[in-house]
Symmetry: D2
Subunit: 311 residues, 4 copies
Amino acid sequence: MTVAAPLTGVVPPVCTPLTPEREVDVPGLLRLVDHLVEAGVHGLFVLGSTSEAAYLTDRQRRQVVQSVTAHVAGRLPVLAGAIDMTTPRVLDHVAAVTSAGADAVVVTAPFYTRVHPAETARHFRLVAERSPVPVIAYDIPAAVHTKLPAGLVLELAADGVLAGLKDSSGDLAGFREVVTGARGLSGDTGFAALTGSELVADAALALGADGAVPGLANVDPHGYVRLYRLCRAGDWAGARAEQERLCALFGMVGVGDPARMGGSSSALGAFKTALHLRGIIPSATTADPQVPLSPQETEQVGKYLAAAGLL
Amino acid sequence: MTVAAPLTGVVPPVCTPLTPEREVDVPGLLRLVDHLVEAGVHGLFVLGSTSEAAYLTDRQRRQVVQSVTAHVAGRLPVLAGAIDMTTPRVLDHVAAVTSAGADAVVVTAPFYTRVHPAETARHFRLVAERSPVPVIAYDIPAAVHTKLPAGLVLELAADGVLAGLKDSSGDLAGFREVVTGARGLSGDTGFAALTGSELVADAALALGADGAVPGLANVDPHGYVRLYRLCRAGDWAGARAEQERLCALFGMVGVGDPARMGGSSSALGAFKTALHLRGIIPSATTADPQVPLSPQETEQVGKYLAAAGLL
Amino acid sequence: MTVAAPLTGVVPPVCTPLTPEREVDVPGLLRLVDHLVEAGVHGLFVLGSTSEAAYLTDRQRRQVVQSVTAHVAGRLPVLAGAIDMTTPRVLDHVAAVTSAGADAVVVTAPFYTRVHPAETARHFRLVAERSPVPVIAYDIPAAVHTKLPAGLVLELAADGVLAGLKDSSGDLAGFREVVTGARGLSGDTGFAALTGSELVADAALALGADGAVPGLANVDPHGYVRLYRLCRAGDWAGARAEQERLCALFGMVGVGDPARMGGSSSALGAFKTALHLRGIIPSATTADPQVPLSPQETEQVGKYLAAAGLL
Amino acid sequence: MTVAAPLTGVVPPVCTPLTPEREVDVPGLLRLVDHLVEAGVHGLFVLGSTSEAAYLTDRQRRQVVQSVTAHVAGRLPVLAGAIDMTTPRVLDHVAAVTSAGADAVVVTAPFYTRVHPAETARHFRLVAERSPVPVIAYDIPAAVHTKLPAGLVLELAADGVLAGLKDSSGDLAGFREVVTGARGLSGDTGFAALTGSELVADAALALGADGAVPGLANVDPHGYVRLYRLCRAGDWAGARAEQERLCALFGMVGVGDPARMGGSSSALGAFKTALHLRGIIPSATTADPQVPLSPQETEQVGKYLAAAGLL
């Protein structure tokens, strides 16, 4: 299956369930995929940040893409992250995930190294040249420590290098510049502007986003599908109410004690704990060196689920 | 060969010469190694930041370690970087470089993901548990965006987790805290405190560092070996004069036009260009997506070499 | 006049016209105030960042507040910034601007010094205790280098310490948390949640903001008043079209050459140049050490005005 | 008295003792000055960061400078900070402190506003033009969030704009570039390169610094005077031992609980507590909104003093 032109709708960044031994729990992963597909999501994004791609070995990454693409069998598009530091290493991942069946690759700016916008542009051009599938830029300054300038994204979109943007920057004004600027292009290049925000997805859709890639959609895919439909129907009051319910639910990412763990441990731990409590995956195990939630923190996740009507 | 306890002296982070097609130039690499060994360096560090480890594929990384360890054949210790985002991925690199013959591994804090000091500690503990060779912490906030706290390094050193520190943080006061604090430990654990600074190596040695890992030692290994011996001999005036000559030479890292390229392209481009101009490697090619130096910038590198008496 | 409870609508942060000798141009300032009031704005904010408060001496600050409050004479509320590093210095400004007639004060977190959330909370509590008028928190991390946590703002609002928030953080998700969380409070405390964004004011109003404080409203107050009314009327398509027109106009803040000047020089220079080209103020002079726009850059500002139908 | 050309030696940034009501405790301040002068310091720096200048009102700032200059009566040079956001406000402070008797002014880059190196240069040029006394640049990125580039400092030194640098950046390599580069200038301009480091003052002096401005010299001026003399005598082993003793003493800045207070509260609180415990000032009160040390934290400061032989 090829990516719709452009990709639209709710595209969850799929969590990667792990066994207690920290191997990919393939049955758990496929159960999670079924849970998402049945809720009506429009695509799947594997090997993103929410998928703990940064923690998975190359072998595990391949396992994830192969299992999911085989299971989905073209029913909806599967995007795969090719997350690594620089062009040559990203290209190895592009080869791996596309030979495993990914319909598009999601690529960040270079990181670890000190990078210049001209080098970031060169990076995306080189990746796109050699990728057999469309390339979607992943703007995630919290991880890579540079922000993709709207002008650069639009230039690469106009040149057919980028097929879309996943914006996890938190900068809605910059995202709007891309959305508005890409409008002229939408004819044949089919540029997809996707927000990574859990919290202002309604606002992003209102200003013209094509879709949303919220990590919380693992936990409550029905909520985000509903939100998407309300926005598309122009029911902004209804969308706002649904969004506010999801914002309250998202509070779960803060359950982890900041004296004991970082933001990834807390947020990914909360998502996986919620999936476990909802009976979708058998273990809330996160990858090393993350710290697991305590029993008290786990209980709090349950309260968030109950308050949102999910437990 | 095993790592001296503790490792001391000048340990250059070895550049990785590339062919114009951006493959590892193995003969060039071995010529560079000979150039360093003949100058009297005390160890070699491959697959560090100066080695463009962030840009090398796994296949290329293996090629580098295998060629160098086979060529060096135990004459001096070979440290290898195992640079990746998190514990599971780092462990794959540890396995690869140690099976290729590395005498020690050099490991950073996790990056890309938002990390907590407790998770960084856990990361080093897990890596050390499974590494067949000593683990040296690599403090490089410019790349990983967190600083290793001195207290954490000392705690891990006391527990035998870390065999040393390569400090590329630029924070000499923090490094001093490690050097002073590790003094009590030096008995059997053999903790090696190594500065990554090109510019205040004399000061670091004066306050008690065991050695230096300066990228510029690729270009002028004799200079850094001389500097090390002057410091060890207590000839601080002589050391300062030599250090100031090396500081002037280091100015070459700024030749790249900041409107056209980032700091890596400029610094690594200058080192490789200098090695090329000195006749040690056949091509100054750097890895993608870095931008090459222009002819004018190349000429400037030559002027730095000439001023330092190296051309 | 006291501040409406809560303050709502469009509240421009008023530019401070300067003479070529860099004294406050009082007649120019009052002409600008008239231009804003006639456009239907709902309040005025003097001595904010857009007012170049950081560049005005204490004497000039007093001059600004006195002239504006006397001229406005209670027709609409006048908020005044009390921008300084810490509590004792802020309190001096609070005394000065309130004795000059300000209806509310706008106060940032401490800056220059390394501050802790507990100290920021203490700062607002001490200021509010001694301020004769309501205190509005000013969240502007680009200037003060800390972000006001939503939880802290809500706690201070619940305790009656803060009468509102001006959010110039660019973080719409965080702002939403304040807006939603303050809803329970709105009864008697009258908390006003104001966005400082020029670019997503429509989104902020859609999610429940009480008003907007956009610097660009100096240049096009009619546009922002229109936008506010469209939002209040629930005409989201109309609001989006007006907002997109204003976004295009806002492009003027980027006319300054980044090789020659910083973001303040460019943005404040563009606003003042636009006011000058529109015939509202006699000189586009900005305060020292800012760099003035070149003739070519000035011409570009004119093109932005023409494209927006303002020239 | 005029500033020596160049200024050399130990120049403590003088703490500002406060009464429990948070007014300047003038007798306490003068007792502290006597304590410093009797220990043999070479100059005094009032209204710096360690002096809590960011927390003092304009009235209190004047009080400090007047009291100290009158008391010192030309026996040694008195430098005064003119700490504020931009040129016009800094110039008001320059006028105030010089009319109160300061022999030189210490000025940072602009802050709060987004600044460009060209504007920073313009700032120092404008201040120097109108200052009746020499201007010393204060490089303190932790407070102002930009770093003074070495090249800029040297350019301004060569043009006679700057009479010196107080480097509190923690970047010894950058400081070295200024020290080395200023050597050619030393003839008549008399540029003074002063380190603000408590912890690597020996290293800074070894590489050519003219003097040191360590906050900890309030607590142990004899130690820093001894350190300075050992360095000048070329007794580097002795200097290192003294420096390591002072490093251990400096550990006191970390006594404050990071869950309860920020770095300023902890460090300034520890210095003032130490002065109080040593019987030099009557109260350890710090300015608002800083948080005071607890009895347990106060006790810990005492232990640091005892371990260093100061109690």
